[in-house]
Symmetry: C2
Subunit: 402 residues, 2 copies
Amino acid sequence: MRDCGLESTVMATAGAPIVFGRRKESDRVPTILVYGHYDVQPVEPISAWTSDPFTPQIRDGRMFGRGTADNKGQHIAQLLAIKAVLESSGRLPVNVVMIVEGEEEIGSPHLEQWVDEHAHLLKADFAYTSDGAIHPSGRPVVLCGARGLLYLELTLRVAPVDRHSGSFGGVSRNAALELVQAVSSLWDRDGEVAVPGFHDAVAEPTDLEKAAVEALPLTSPIHTSEMVTSSSDWFRRLLLRPNMNISGLGSGWTGPSMKTIIPASATAKLDVRLVPNQDPYDIARLITERLRSTAPEVEVNVISGVKPSRTPLDSPIVDRVSQAVEFAWEQPPLLYPSLAGSVPDFVFTSNLAIPSVIVPYGNADQANHAPDENLVLDYFHKGARTFVAVLHAFAPYESART
Amino acid sequence: MRDCGLESTVMATAGAPIVFGRRKESDRVPTILVYGHYDVQPVEPISAWTSDPFTPQIRDGRMFGRGTADNKGQHIAQLLAIKAVLESSGRLPVNVVMIVEGEEEIGSPHLEQWVDEHAHLLKADFAYTSDGAIHPSGRPVVLCGARGLLYLELTLRVAPVDRHSGSFGGVSRNAALELVQAVSSLWDRDGEVAVPGFHDAVAEPTDLEKAAVEALPLTSPIHTSEMVTSSSDWFRRLLLRPNMNISGLGSGWTGPSMKTIIPASATAKLDVRLVPNQDPYDIARLITERLRSTAPEVEVNVISGVKPSRTPLDSPIVDRVSQAVEFAWEQPPLLYPSLAGSVPDFVFTSNLAIPSVIVPYGNADQANHAPDENLVLDYFHKGARTFVAVLHAFAPYESART
């Protein structure tokens, strides 16, 4: 940050520190809050990497290495854009505030509190994040939100130890069966969430959002036998609807052959994707109530709660950023009402109450979280050019804050 | 066996060999077929043993070591009884045929075929097995059958690899959810088996069997919070009713914290206890049909199928064995219509069509399958005296075969 013309300081949280930066040009120009993260996923299995994950290597027009795409490579494009503008103009057309956090990959557990405590440093007209991937076709994308995440760990213990089914089969309780019955009750037979109240807070998508998902070209990377929906409903379900998913199940003996036991305990992990205006903790309470109506003793532990976020598609910010993207990529971006996944975008749209856009610079085959993570250098360059255009797109813009 | 006066030979099977022994006294006296097994459970965790599992050690009136109770120690009581009678009388009052197999702990997968192929060597008036435990109160028991076992492994795969729930949550199938819904459909909300046809073949217990379970004293070793039944129904459910149990569940991420995946595959293990006249392979078919009505792609693999067995409680064999037990233990045995667990007793009652009784010599706290397995020496001596009495109980008995 300092090399690129920003003041910078490392600020402690209860977890990994946040790197904070800023460059103030004037009270009369807008302020952009740029978000990124410096933490990465583990590199295992390291033997599957073609080159060392922490020695960046350029091959075939891509830079390979852990974090090249997710997220340091994308974030560096913003810094180089700032540096380039300063080198050519001596100043920026806007003010910049920058947050680079170190816990994005574990659900940003300390970001919200830090943002609340430092809101006075974070006054901005909108937030801007580059993370994720452009469309597989090569078209750039602009995303106006993200689904939220609720991650629950369910545990049911009914006995101090596993029992021999040859001694107790038919008279003693089975934790696996009780948990399976409770978990199963969360969905109807069609696989739709059947938790009472689950959909109550779901905001009806706007006409613009519906039109936006209709316009998205489907290039499904999975076989139709894997799909639970028709192609025509793909993006509506993925971007505008909530979803609940069993991401883990464990109980008793899962090794080879057989072990005739009645499990004393069972666990399940649930991964819930939320849309506006669902609150993860409200949803956790509804799921817990439903589970306990079948299995009163089940323990429910919230592992992660990330609120959904949304910026209106007709926000002038979205329009200006889209124009900047079109200039840099020489084609108009696809407009997504939301990311299907979950990023802590809500701290901007809810806690700071400002618009927020996500403009990925990564290639669709970036292999983030996997071996041979990489960033296509052409997209990296387009990313830097994009942010140069974004910095300039707001020069004539009257800051809403002034 | 040779040291104790039997001819003996080791006979191959497709698995572990069977040790076969016999002593023929006369065509005019009955023949007892004695069954035991020489295989044992693994000793792990070995660090939890007080003394080496394969160096028998006597402490506090018990012999400690793997197999002391399950089953070599109990079986040696039979051999020493034969030896003692031969040393004192020079001959046995009956003929003896003996089978000691090496695969009981893995469900006796080759015993049935071997018995069918060697039925000409196994002509006997009844079968006699000492395995398991006497009543915790110290009273001896005579068991007239065993529940059968069906062990199934269910596998459902819906995708080539796990998917990221942030990219596919709501549009791609979830193996864990589909298997949970299918497995859950096998029981009703009260936890009773709801597979159509499951109970059709269940034979109505006889009045004697009902009276026998009514007479059994309950000394439940589990807390009431673990029980799915009232004490009054304990033995009826445990001995006269079938039961199905989830013994293992595995899918997706079960480690600490979270991994936001949609599992590509899921597995479950089902352990089913059967009563006369349920056939394990018929039941496997019914369960498969029920599962596939919900999850058509689920694969069902039969890991083990052991038929139930029953000898009528009013068989003269049961009466005479009970008298021998009473003589040796100086108290009348408790009469069980069945073992709750599963032993390959059906090869005698079904394949050879002879009565069969199980007369355990082990203590209730024998810790079989666990560290510090042990056999109370007083019960071991009573066991040897029991078999001496059994050998003599049939001297005046006219063999049904002659």
